[in-house]
Amino acid sequence: MPSLRPGGARLRFGVIGCGAVTERYHLPSLQASPDVELVGFADTAPTRAAALAARAGTGSTFAEYREMIGLVDAALVAVPNAWHEPISTALLRAGVHVLVEKPMARTTAECDRMLAAAHERSVVLAVGHDFRHFPVARLARDIFSADLLGPITRVDLRQSAGGRWPYASTAVLSPSAGGGVLLDFGVHLFDLMLWWLGEIEPVAYRDDAEGGVESECEAELRLASGAPVHVELSRSRLLRDTLVAEGERGTLEIGVFEPAMVRLTPRGGGDLVGTAMDPRFERAPLRTVFDRQLADFVGAVRAGAPPLVSGSEARRAVALVEGCYARRASLRFPWSWPEARMAVSR
């Protein structure tokens, strides 16, 4: 097993990609962790790497992430989507444990190259689906596992995405990102649904991309039982921001975050509304979630065990996104151009 250090020694950690998510969430968690020694920062924008190294007060900056190979045991890969696969694969092949931001990659083919590299060197490949670490997400999984609702008959998910995120670059808006709201944000929710509900397959999919990346999408999916799943994601609208699962014995509504809530309505009466009590989460929701994600990753590296969201788990969400894109139809509106003009020239 390469680069697994003796218990007690800190993991030498490299940070690759110094954008908004690293600055706001990963870096504070890495700094706070007693298990981590920050060795270096790399970014294509040297000023970003230098700024984060200065903020951390430790670690060097590297013009090229490869220069960190041999100096680190593990790395965070939080770069634009197009680079998830090549950078992660190179690190994994060099025996470095990798925590890569979501989406794991743009396609299952890219995921497979990463998985093969991790397998080859027996290193940990974890994917940053931090939503799994939200207290409500675990509670929901327990409710579904306990089969409180009976067989699920229908699922409806509406979620707004990303309106306030302080992106440090325009990479997320480029077609090279591999997709828009579905791949960038919907992949979180697909991962949760797969974790909660088991196998899901795509049926139909529409989005508003017209040569760029989609801002709005609607997906029709199907559970293994055949129950329909309707998904709407939007970068421009305020939606309900919950998932509603209807079962034969009742209905469960889940808001993972903003609102963080569960509402369980058994058929035949009663209504339980609440949240998963978690004082640390109440104080600093995202900090806590990223702390737990990092602790899970470090624990996996130390134990040589799979993390909560392993590469093979995360690949399923990418596969579902890919299945949607493969069925893509255009999402048009009466006010689109030229439809609007045709409405008045009739």
């Binding site: 509406r158 990303g162 309106g163 306030r164 995120w165 302080p166 992106y167 670059s169 325009t170 997320v172 808006l173 480029s174 077609p175 828009g180 709201v181 508003d208 991309a209 017209e210 040569g211 760029g212 990346v213 989609e214 801002s215 709005e216 709407e232 970068r235 421009s236 609208r237 305020l238 939606l239 309900r240 975050f257 903003e258 609102p259 963080a260 949240t275 109440e282 104080r283 509106f333 009466p334 006010w335 151009w337 030229p338 609007a340 003009r341 409405a343 008045v344 020239s345």
Partner: protein, 397 residues
């Protein structure tokens, strides 16, 4: 009709493309004109909608000469749809004035034309009668009008001295899908409160559907007679404010929320309201209007604590309060009479006016012919509002 071929394959820059008018302009430039569109974006998250199009997204700021120069490089036309926003008046004015200076420099270097979007607000609207490009300028004192006027004067003057083809377009009341001021803001207001209809809504609303305004911008960019001129751009009709606001109220089934009142009654209501309000009532009014703020506050520790407290003390009332907080429920139409907010005196005066904007100059020199009547424009706006969940219910159901 808008010189469809003139921009095909040409590189153009849209500043303000994350906004309502600029966003639709970018869409038409791509879909209808086959232009190579570049957009200058200050905040990446605000540009996610325009990024659905094959546009080149450049991060930068109209206040930064260097980023404007880079964005303008190689462009045949620069469209300035930027609007100063935010609470800082100096920054707003800088966007409207300094931004123009940087764009003129960029246009000069690339031999590009500049289409400067201004506003009807630059004119001193008479109480009655016609408004044309020869109508007197608005008197100084209103920050928005002052900045817009300074921006268009600077654009035309620098255009003349630097030999840059500058055209100023002055749209009137632009509405349509994704409009905020004359769209979602009106719906948000009518969904939560009653609204004064000044002089029973007999004032003239010089409304222009967004696609007509965009058509005028495209003509201004391509017409040989456009440079050096300023053009008022309005719709073909002169509806009243009763018809305009009434259209939005009908989308909500809330016609009774428009309260007809004379201008002097409206001013008296404002004067009476100037007594200092309680913080709590102001905060509550704000929460009712602002969905995003409400959601964020209710997700805070204090919000959750208050909720927990309410659950213990008065479960029945909490349920009622939650219905109130969810659009599509008690906040919506049909509940106990909602509040009637006072209206600022300048707005009362503005809505009472019966001035009619003439579009003869744009028609004659640019060949501008508005195509969207109020009924058609409102119908498209309603389809969008329903989809966007602004009418309560459906999108969030």
């Amino acid at each position: 009709m808008t010189g469809s071929e003139a921009l095909r394959g040409r590189r153009v820059l849209v500043v303000g493309a994350s906004g309502f008018l600029g966003g639709r302009l970018a869409e038409r430039l791509v879909v209808e004109h086959g232009a190579q569109v570049r957009v200058l974006i200050r905040r990446v998250a605000a540009a996610t909608r325009v990024a659905r199009l094959p546009v080149e997204v450049v991060a930068g700021d109209v206040l930064d000469a260097e980023s404007v120069a880079k964005a303008a490089d190689g462009c045949a036309v620069l469209f300035n749809c930027a609007k100063g926003t935010g609470g800082d008046p100096a920054r707003r004015r800088a966007t409207d004035v300094d931004g123009v200076r940087h764009l003129i420099e960029g246009a000069d270097r690339s031999a590009a034309r500049l289409v400067q979007v201004s506003s009807l607000a630059v004119y001193d609207l008479p109480p009655e009668g016609d408004v044309t490009e020869r109508t007197a300028d608005a008197p100084a004192g209103d920050a928005y009008a002052d900045a817009k006027l300074a921006g268009e004067r600077l654009a035309l003057e620098l255009g003349r001295t630097r030999g840059v083809a500058v055209t100023v377009v002055q749209p009137t009341v632009v509405y349509g899908p994704f409009a905020t001021v004359h769209g979602s803001d009106i719906l948000d207001e009518l969904r939560t409160a009653r609204m004064i209809l000044v002089e029973a809504g007999r004032g003239i609303c010089n409304a222009v559907y967004v696609d007509d305004a965009v058509t005028a911008l495209l003509l201004a960019a391509t017409s040989p007679r456009a440079p050096g001129e300023r053009f008022l751009v309005s719709g073909a009709e002169h509806p009243t404010w009763a018809e305009f606001f009434g259209g939005f109220a009908r989308m909500l089934g809330a016609e009774d929320r428009l309260v007809p009142m004379s201008a002097s009654e409206a001013r008296a209501l404002w004067d009476a309201s100037r007594r200092r309000p309680w913080l709590a009532s102001e905060a509550l009014a704000l929460l009712r209007r602002e969905k995003t703020i409400r959601k964020r506050l209710l997700a805070t520790r204090e919000g959750l604590w208050l909720r927990g407290l309410a659950e213990r003390l008065a479960p029945g009332r909490l349920q009622a309060a939650e219905r109130w907080a969810e659009p599509g429920a008690a906040e919506d139409v049909g509940q106990a009479e909602p509040s009637l907010g006072p209206m600022r005196p300048w707005l009362v005066d503005y809505l009472a006016k019966r001035a009619r904007v003439r579009i003869d100059k744009a028609s004659e020199l640019l060949g501008y012919r508005p195509e969207f009547g109020l009924a058609a424009g409102l119908s498209l706006t309603e389809a969008w509002a329903r989809w966007a969940g602004l009418l309560g219910g459906s999108a969030r159901a």
